[in-house]
Symmetry: C2
């Protein structure tokens, strides 16, 4: 391909805009693009610097700099006596071949009702408080702490979090037992990788239980095995039979059934851990929101030597503030810190300080009190509406948290109902989405999982009516 280098007229390759800043940069960018696009072919000789400077009416020095830069970047080659040529760039950028991935246009009203699990009320996120806390943190955080963090995370935040956990969750950890992480999943990933390194290769998961935890366990090098959940929570007898030496569970408010682990089950679980030299990984999800009485304490407080407790502020503040913690027995702490150091170097220091300030000044508690009332009201609306549409006794797990399970009429297909609801603008997860995928999984009655953290009371009413219609087919 022969290229016209312009001759007074509009230039094919290089169009200069004398109002738009550095001429050199403009030439550079355009030549680079031309080489990438193969409008300038490999081996093709560029004009001499003198010639191009004349053609473009600019200083020769500018062109010299441009060529040197392109040379340094590998776009052109230069050899004594043969001038400057376009280099052979082995294969052109893949940009042109890429399918365009423009997101589809949003659909119009009515706004669908989304009973997605695990999302707090996003309209209630205490953004003003957070902004205050960040501003304060920029003023008070010692300069040295703007650098790479102490691998376990901010000492200040670890102090504050463990004090909170002792007070609100009846835990017994101190800052020395805590590692700050960027949220629940990161803590889980680090904890499981550490257990795997300690030779613990099989982990029991609740069935039904949180989604994707099987995948996370597998990536950590563990074999996940399902253990059934009943109306007292995880079945510890079945856990014993599983041969696992670790278990991951949601004792405060089981995901997705909503039951709290029963008192005797709690003791049995701890006894199991001692007998098998095992580890309990406690997902302290939804523990902050309990409506009928005080939350049941963290398992960590019962036996800190056997429990790794994981928590985060994704549900209490917002997923967009990504901070969480791992409270771990001493023998696993170093491993978890090492995982963190190598795979992420830690959580944002300013955010950590801001969260510590938020908790320390009572703003965090105040926020929790406020949203607890919002959730309580939504829960009551949900209960009313379900009783009205489906009759009594169909909702399970309402004592705490921001989700409940709706038991569908016997014989209905939860999947068909969820699909029919979706066509009515109501998104809801069938219980099956939370099942372990095994051949011999024990059947459970058809049910839907209703997250009500991020839906208004009006939406709840509309949503439940939509589901009721969907159930009738």
């Amino acid at each position: 391909m022969t290229v016209t280098w312009g001759q007074g007229g509009p230039d094919l390759l290089v169009a200069l805009d004398r109002e738009a800043g550095s001429l050199g940069s403009q030439i550079q960018d355009q030549l680079r693009q031309a080489i990438r696009d193969q409008r300038l072919s490999p081996g093709e000789r560029l004009p001499s610097t003198r010639r191009l400077a004349e053609l473009l009416g600019i200083a020769r020095g500018t062109v010299v700099e441009v060529y040197e830069q392109l040379l340094a970047e590998g776009y052109v080659e230069s050899a004594v006596g043969s001038g400057t040529r376009v280099a052979v760039i082995p294969s052109p950028g893949a940009m042109a071949q890429r399918a365009s991935r423009v997101p589809s246009a949003p659909t119009s009203s009515p706004r669908p009702v989304d009973f997605e699990y695990g999302i707090p009320d996003l309209r209630s996120v205490p953004l003003t408080d957070w902004s205050w806390a960040i501003s304060k943190a920029t003023q008070t955080l010692p300069t040295a702490q703007l650098g790479d963090e102490d691998a376990a995370g901010s000492r200040h935040l670890r102090d504050v979090i463990t004090a909170y956990h002792r007070r609100v969750r009846a835990g017994c950890a101190t800052a020395e037992d805590a590692v700050v992480v960027s949220g629940f999943r990161q803590g889980l990933t680090f904890a499981l990788a550490t257990l795997a390194r300690h030779g613990i290769r099989r982990i029991a998961l609740e069935d039904p239980g949180p989604r994707e935890h099987d995948l996370i366990a597998q990536r950590a090098g563990m074999e996940p095995v399902p253990v059934p959940v009943d109306d007292q929570g995880l079945n510890v007898d079945r856990l014993r039979e599983s041969g696992a030496r670790a278990v991951l569970l949601t004792p405060a408010h089981q995901c997705p059934t909503g039951v709290a682990l029963g008192p005797s089950r709690r003791r049995d679980l701890i006894a199991w851990a001692d007998q098998v030299d095992g580890v309990i990984v406690e997902d302290d999800y939804d523990a902050e929101f309990r409506y009928d009485r005080q939350p049941v304490g963290s398992l960590q407080g019962l036996n800190s030597a056997r429990v790794i407790a994981l928590g985060s502020v994704s549900k209490t503040l917002a997923p967009a503030i990504r901070l969480g913690w791992v409270l771990a027995p001493p023998q696993f702490l170093h491993g978890i810190v090492k995982e963190k150091h190598l795979s992420s170097r830690g959580a944002p220091g300013l955010d950590q300080e801001a969260l510590a300030l938020l908790m320390e000044t009572g703003r965090f508690d105040r926020h929790l009190r406020r949203v607890r009332e919002i959730y309580r009201a939504r829960r009551d609306v949900l209960a009313d509406e379900v009783a009205h549409a489906f009759g009594p006794g169909r909702l399970q797990g309402l004592a705490a948290g921001c989700h409940a399970m709706l038991l569908l009429p016997t014989g209905s297909s939860e999947r068909a109902v969820a699909q029919a609801a979706a066509s009515r603008g109501v998104r809801v997860n069938p219980l099956g989405h939370y099942r372990f995928q095994t051949e011999d999984a024990e059947p459970l009655p058809p049910a839907l999982v209703l997250g009500f953290g991020n839906v208004t009371e009006q939406e709840i009413r509309r949503g439940i009516r939509g589901i009721a219609e969907a159930t009738r087919g």
Copy 2:
């Protein structure tokens, strides 16, 4: 152990402070602690609720609630006809057995000089700008984006980052090619795990090169192999011999030697990748700071189909703002997003929006211009001081970035010099810290790696004098 339950006088187990909030909580906390400490032994019977209420002079209902709570938490058991007894908690908390890990007291003045590598000037972190940006983000971020993020990260930030990378680093990625991560290491971890899943099991690392990358590669399931670095950067001929199908390198300003990858090496590297169907992982470290001329462009711009480019703001803003990016060819993008989704659910949404605003409004560029001048001045002082103390030609890698390599007199032991410097209050890393640990590693001349990002000009002077003294023994 028999316990006195108090009888009007000061109570052994339960001391109530009637000014200090809920009496029920106080009783609960103290009983819980007593059970944990085994001051109340397993099997021991608690007073009846009526009796304890009398003893403490409080309402019986309060005690009933306390017992119910402790029952729910598994601290006590209750059986018809035998009242309430302390439960058998298999093993007490490990807190008492833990070694106390109180950090040692800081040493007194003079403040040591720390030539640690890779730390930016922490006194220049644009905290006011950051605080502004967070505040703005809390006002402008759409509510839905306070929830779990689109797995690739904020679209806004991906647009802004890739525009920046195209403009400043001569890249050619768009938002569709980008994944937001929490910093370089997280990006590296996700990228390597993805390559391993694609069957790429051997990765070449620079020797000398950044510390701990061999460990990170191993944890991702790869075999790291060393490839020597010379005054043109990574030796591509040796890379060919290594049998690796992936290479991780720092082309803009090699860590720790400070050389930029030469133009012909850049082309050879791309050709190698095409020949072996390989992948170049580009650690775009220090690329923003170049003093003599414009930075050499990113390899990603040369061949986006073969390069995974990693960047972060840890060095341009601060390690405490943990955001980075991965620009990846389409075939690896999904895997990287999946790693991110499963192992962390993403980076903080508010921080992402804040960074986008910082870059978009020109504040980021303004900050870079400001610190570039600071680093340039430090670099000049360093060069002067070293020339004065060691003679000419002893510093390498000063054209860019915030570190340089000091070549020590032949025959000296870099380790001994570093130790002797430390005893003079000057911390510096010997080159050996950056070597690959193999039996047959080729020897390199003795040298020290001097990070000058976070030391003042005065400290540089004092530090170099200390090292010079240390060299003389």
